[in-house]
């Protein structure tokens, strides 16, 4: 890796770290984004100067998050990793799924005794409306004419302010 790509890899690590995620996972994602072909665990460990076990743990985290996928090469028993195909659509799908889960959680919380207090109830209702509106707007932007972020948007439902 040259200096500029190295810099992007390190910045991706710091970006992840700031969000409470593993810095190594961020560096791995950065490295794979910049790679032209799938990479083996050994190659990743060497490129990032981390242990193979650490690469293994973090690449599996990225796999679970849906940004990275494992591939095999005929005649080669090793596992290889690459950025998931169609990543923007996949990331958008993940965001929507997370928002839908958050919405369900907040709605269900309305049935707890704590939600009998008006301040708590109001907070949960506003939060649920916000994540629902975000999910709808995201879906529109992704599925509208022209696809990803083509500018096709309809009004997000619900008032959250």
């Amino acid at each position: 890796m040259d200096g500029r790509t190295q810099d992007v890899v390190e910045r991706m690590g710091l970006f992840f770290e700031r969000d409470g995620l593993s810095r190594i996972a961020g560096r791995l994602l950065g490295h794979l984004l910049l790679s032209e072909t799938p990479r083996s665990l050994d190659e990743l460990a060497e490129a990032l100067q981390v242990s193979k076990s650490s690469v293994s743990i973090n690449v599996r985290l990225l796999e679970r998050m849906g940004t990275v996928e494992r591939v095999t090469i005929p005649g080669d028993r090793r596992d290889y990793y690459r950025i998931a195909a169609d990543l923007p659509r996949r990331v958008s799908g993940m965001w929507r799924e997370r928002l839908a889960t958050a919405h369900d959680l907040l709605e269900d919380a309305l049935d707890t005794p704590a939600a009998e207090t008006s301040a708590v109830r109001r907070r949960l209702v506003r939060g649920a409306a916000l994540v629902e509106g975000l999910a709808e707007a995201l879906e529109d932007a992704m599925d509208g004419p022209g696809g990803v972020g083509s500018g096709s948007r309809r009004d997000g439902s619900g008032t959250v302010a």
Binding site: D19, G20, L33, S35, R64, I83, R123, L130, G133, A137
Partner: protein
């Protein structure tokens, strides 16, 4: 906590964990969402059965995301935490992060050597996707919270 509240807190923990974020962060946020008063580190550690250090680390992360805010009580020198009700603030912080990621991906697309066309294409696509997401967030902020929020 009642069993229903306990269950909500645990589910919130798993919700965060699925994103690769510490489960305790999710449990902490879930718990604070159900409180009417700010809670001290001691109270939070006690309620969630985790160390004060762990509460402190995770609370800092939640404060950084704008989900939680620090609070004080008159005559009490301890730190208190409460769920933030400023949703525009949460979205604005998210917007900043999406913009930062757009820049980083753009830098990556510029930095990738010419003999890696697939990687360059992927980085450009991802940068465009994040730029579109940022635009969407700006638009929603303005529509939901007024022209100054976007």
């Amino acid at each position: 906590m009642t069993p229903a509240e306990e269950q909500f807190v645990e589910r919130f923990g798993r919700h965060f964990e699925a994103d690769g974020v510490p489960r305790i962060g999710g449990r902490l946020y879930g718990y604070l969402l159900l409180q009417t008063e700010p809670r001290s580190l001691d109270e939070l550690a006690d309620a969630l059965h985790v160390s004060k250090a762990s509460i402190s680390t995770n609370a800092r992360l939640l404060v950084q995301w704008g989900l939680v805010e620090r609070a004080t009580r008159p005559g009490d020198r301890r730190d208190f935490y409460a769920a933030a009700d400023d949703l525009a603030g949460v979205l604005q912080l998210r917007l900043q992060r999406v913009r930062a990621m757009t820049d980083l991906l753009g830098t990556g697309a510029d930095a990738v050597p010419a003999d890696r066309p697939d990687a360059a294409h992927r980085l450009t696509e991802m940068a465009r996707f994040h730029a579109a997401a940022a635009e969407l967030l700006e638009d929603l902020l303005e529509r939901w919270f007024g022209p100054d929020a976007g």
